[in-house]
């Protein structure tokens, strides 16, 4: 049985454990009494908070139960926020207003002068907006614009097509793609420009990079760029995330450049290095987003993301990386659309991950957390009467925060037809601020919307369906075997086809598309963000200069890299050397000579 099979068993066993505890609480008087005592203690310790209207509320909402069996069901089956199995959240408090301000309100009914309200470390805002356009300096400017009013600088980087495929801006036929849909990065020098003006070693800074196929090379460039600016001592302080999710590329997104096995080996090389040398870095973001966007059902999205995650964990453990070293450095990324499953999809995922990591991989508490970034669904947005997309995104945001996501990106309404423009990005960011900071839904009380009977029903149905998917993958021989025989890919394509069919036959309502439409199909007139030819030429010229400067040395660096790859040793240190002298495309090309190219699955 693969680890995935064991995960299924561990969840079944855990559910049985919960049932047993409920029974025991009802039959074993002492046990029941102790539980009740604990429950009363928990309740007594919950601070009170007060809304601006004066209404008093508990800072943590709990079900109104006083029967030991029900208490057991809640504490073992769901857990308090921040407690195993983490159904209600990975952390004790999220999104809430800082506690001391609340206390001072408590005492005086209004905030006193600035002196008595002690300065407290502000919590990180969960907002993280995806951005990338034109050349490094243009994206840099956008980053500064986006973070102008943020306490913490959390950048999320989109790369252009050539970069995502590991090729250079001077490659045959890519000229028009330079800087389109993301930023063009060819060399370490571009990487220096990209984050210029940001303090990469600061605890208030983190960079997220959405790239998978050539992720180890881009990661090496990021480290090299940081070293150029801040010296080698910055390396252990670097904070951020790189996507590096090979399985979902093969399953859904088609941005794979090496065959699967060497791709996974390069990934493991990088993870081994970063989890040891850069303890604050997340070297992989296990992503369901692209699976969802490619058309999967929500259950498929959650199931494939989790099973990919367990497969990576199995691989890293097999390399000999301790689970408590890599486990806390795994993070997840989910899509959030409007289907009913999204009421609890991430909640259920968090619970399954915690149980599997604890009981199958023997992970400690920090390695059990399913730390989640959510993005609202791009696929749910349409061009027809596109301002409706604001409403769609708002509803999805609500669902994402009901699932206690750790961070979130809200899509811009103009995404169906262009790289988002500043006007719509601003509205998307404000959507989050209105929900979290203006409205009282999330800022006063944890668990404000958790645990409704409907949510519980969705949780049960979704968990059962995810475990069924796991069983099927296990039957096929595990994740890698299933990927190689295109199982997930075919399932996703089939679901995508059904979705389109449902729109076509009207069983799925899309407002202004197949319902209440006004008849105009025109793409709205919006200002499009396109990369001017002059900039594209500039990128090609810079690259030529870089290549010329390093012409001789780069050959030796590539030879050295190739030799290390052949030897089977961890090649990440050699990559760190190579990026000083070689471009992305040069490195990719050389690696492909050694390990081959990815053969598309059609």
């Amino acid at each position: 049985m693969s680890k995935l099979g064991q995960v299924v068993e561990s969840v079944e066993k855990y559910n049985q454990f919960v049932v047993d505890q409920v029974k025991r609480a009802r039959t074993d008087e002492k046990f029941g009494r102790d539980l009740l005592g604990r429950w009363n203690d928990i309740k007594a310790k919950i601070p009170t908070t007060r809304a601006p209207t004066g209404l008093s509320l508990p800072r943590l909402a709990l079900p109104e139960i006083d029967e030991p069996g029900e208490i057991a069901r809640f504490l073992f089956g769901e857990g308090l926020p921040g407690e195993f199995p983490y159904l209600n959240g990975a952390y004790r408090e999220m999104y809430l207003e800082p506690i001391r301000e609340v206390e001072s309100l408590e005492k005086n009914g209004h905030a006193k002068d600035g002196k008595s309200a002690k300065k407290i470390a502000p919590a990180e805002e969960p907002t993280r907006l995806f951005s990338g356009l034109m050349l490094a300096e243009d994206t840099n400017e956008r980053f500064h614009f986006l973070t102008a009013h943020q306490r913490t600088h959390r950048l999320s980087t989109a790369f252009d097509g050539p970069t995502l495929y590991g090729i250079d801006s001077d490659a045959d036929g890519v000229f028009g793609k330079i800087g389109e849909g993301g930023v063009a990065i060819d060399t370490v020098e571009d990487m220096v420009r990209l984050y210029d003006g940001f303090d990469l070693g600061s605890s208030n800074f983190s960079a997220s990079m959405t790239i998978s196929g050539p992720a180890p090379i881009i990661m090496a460039m990021y480290i090299a760029a940081a070293k150029r600016r801040f010296g080698p001592s910055v390396v252990p302080k670097l904070r951020g995330t790189i996507q590096a999710d090979i399985f979902k590329e093969v399953q859904a997104q088609n941005e794979t450049i090496f065959p699967i096995e060497p791709s996974l080996r390069f990934l493991t090389d990088m993870v081994e290095f970063t989890t040891r040398e850069m303890p604050r870095w997340y070297p992989i973001s296990i992503s369901g987003y692209h699976i969802g966007e490619a058309g999967s059902t929500p259950v498929q999205q959650a199931a494939y993301t989790l099973s990919n995650g367990f497969a990576y964990a199995e691989m890293f453990a097999a390399r000999g990386i301790p689970v408590d070293q890599f486990g806390p450095r795994l993070s997840f990324f989910l899509d959030c659309g409007l289907d009913v499953e999204y009421i609890a999809l991430a909640r259920v995922s968090r619970r399954i991950w915690a149980i599997g990591m604890r009981d199958v991989f023997a992970a400690g508490p920090k390695a059990q957390l399913y730390k989640l970034h959510t993005q609202t669904s791009g696929r749910s947005l349409i061009a027809a009467e596109f301002k409706n997309n604001l409403t769609r995104t708002a509803a999805e945001l609500m669902l994402a925060y009901m699932n206690a996501t750790n961070s979130c990106h809200s899509n811009s309404a103009d995404e169906p037809f262009t790289t988002p423009s500043e006007e719509w990005i601003r509205l998307a960011a404000h959507g989050q601020a209105i929900l979290l900071e203006e409205s009282g839904i999330f800022k006063h009380t944890m668990n404000m919307l958790s645990g409704s009977p409907g949510m519980k029903a969705v949780e049960r149905a979704v968990e059962a369906a995810i475990l069924d998917e796991f069983r099927e993958i296990e039957r096929l021989g595990g994740v890698l075997a299933a990927v190689e025989e295109r199982y997930q890919r075919s399932q996703i394509q089939n679901a995508a086809h059904k979705y389109e069919q449902q729109i076509y036959d009207g069983t799925r309502s899309i407002i202004a598309l197949n319902k209440y439409r006004n008849g105009s199909d025109d793409v709205p007139e919006v200002k499009l963000a396109r990369t001017p030819r002059k900039k594209q030429q500039l990128q090609v010229d810079r690259l030529a200069k870089f290549k010329k400067k390093n012409a001789e040395k780069s050959k030796r660096a590539l030879d050295k890299l190739a030799a290390v790859v052949e030897s089977g040793k961890n090649c990440f240190p050699a990559l760190l050397d190579a990026v000083e002298l070689c471009s992305l495309g040069q490195i990719t090309g050389r690696l492909q000579e050694v390990v081959g190219r990815f053969r598309p699955m059609v």
Binding site: P162, A171, G173, K177, G181, N254, T418, V523, F598, P600
Partner: protein, 389 residues
């Protein structure tokens, strides 16, 4: 009857959005169109080379990652440069291509851009109306490959019109005496295409000038269209030193097309060092290269999962093939398959060779061995005997 319309579809370089084109391809083939599908992440050079070799009427490009104005224009320009502007260009990209973009693209020579909301029926109708008329007379080809592609079209069209063509005579022959023609056959899913593509990589690395031709077959479906998809996974064969032509079986059983023999004869004397012919996935009774007279060496590619041992007795090609390959030999079942097939071949008392390969693996030693067997050995005995007859 007129030949089906042949078009080529592809997704541009640095773009992995293939779900729209997959749906559209299926709609095209259901309506009698033969689609050569090149796959996603394809550079301009590959698209134009393939379009010329396949001699399609038009190229359909599905672009979702931006840069479409330049990309489409580069395709049109390169076609022009290669003297192939009889091949037209159309495409779409959902909401990513604006009406203004489309205007500019039309000005640059693109026939049509489909916007979000265009029905599949509308696209099929467009292809039939715009590219369904008989071809106008074409100017003299600008390159040998283009001329060869035109001639192959003539052969195929004449068979479609059911006037069987007399053997091509009196044409320029640059035949090299040492051309080797190798026939690949075997059941569907055994990995023939991947194996051939890996062999091509070895041909290309062997020296700097030899050229390879590939004649690949896919079945026509009901309604007479066909999805000719081998190129989409043949990453090494998109190369100027490789001439590849994809043929639909157009109603003929047995793994080949009515026009195959004449096309193969033409390829065999067109100056290539190696000519590879690949059948569609075949059944047990198939013997596609029998009485062919052109194929020097035949390779049967087997999947280790052929069923019971008894099934082996029924596979005719096991008697005829010069080389039998057990591909996917990393599968658990492969060792048993090797033993059983070895015994089966021993009954024949001929010097048939058995090779285990894992074609999907880069630099697989089994594929290296197969390459040695087909690139260095002389004319096979079987072929010589065939030729005597």
């Amino acid at each position: 009857m007129a030949a089906p319309i042949r078009i080529l579809t592809a997704v541009p370089i640095c773009d992995g959005h293939d779900s729209a084109i997959n749906t559209i391809n299926l709609e095209f083939i259901r309506h009698g169109i033969e689609v050569v599908y090149l796959g996603y992440h394809r550079p301009v050079g590959d698209i134009v080379r393939a379009a010329i070799q396949e001699d399609v009427r038009a190229i359909g490009i599905s672009s979702y990652n931006g840069g479409h104005i330049e990309f489409f224009a580069e395709v049109v320009d390169l076609l022009r440069k290669k003297g192939a502007d009889d091949i037209k260009v159309f495409g779409g990209g959902g909401g990513t291509i604006t009406h203004d973009d489309a205007k500019m693209m039309r000005r640059k020579g693109v026939d049509e851009i489909f916007f979000a909301g265009t029905s599949l029926e509308g696209m099929v109708k467009f292809v039939h109306q715009r590219y369904g008329k008989p071809r106008a007379k074409r100017p003299k080809a600008k390159s040998a490959d283009q001329e060869l592609a035109h001639q192959l079209t003539e052969v195929e069209d004449s068979y479609a019109a059911e006037k069987k063509r007399s053997p091509l005579n009196g044409q320029r022959s640059t035949s090299k005496s040492e051309v080797r023609v190798i026939g690949f056959t075997g059941p569907g899913g055994a990995g023939k295409t991947t194996l051939i593509d890996e062999l091509v990589l070895r041909f290309l690395n062997k020296d700097r000038q030899s050229r390879v031709a590939i004649l690949s077959h896919d079945p026509s479906v009901i309604g007479e269209g066909a999805l000719l998809g081998d190129r989409a996974t043949m990453i090494n064969s998109q190369n100027d030193r490789v001439f590849m032509r994809s043929m639909a079986t157009r109603g003929q059983a047995g793994g080949l097309s009515p026009a195959t023999h004449d096309c193969l004869a033409l390829l065999a004397r067109s100056g290539f060092d190696y000519v590879i012919i690949e059948t569609v996935g075949t059944g047990q009774e198939a013997m596609p290269f029998q009485n062919n007279g052109i194929v020097d060496q035949t390779v049967l590619v087997m999947n280790p999962d052929y069923g019971s041992r008894l099934q082996l007795q029924k596979i005719v090609m096991l008697d005829l093939a010069d080389i039998v390959v057990v591909n996917k030999s990393d599968l658990q079942r492969a060792k048993t398959a090797h033993t059983e097939i070895e015994q089966r071949l021993e009954q024949n008392r001929r010097s048939q060779r058995l090779v285990d390969t894992v074609a999907k693996r880069h630099r697989d030693p089994g594929v290296d061995r197969l390459f040695d067997l087909i690139s260095t050995s002389g004319k096979s005995k079987v072929a010589k005997e065939r030729r005597k007859k």
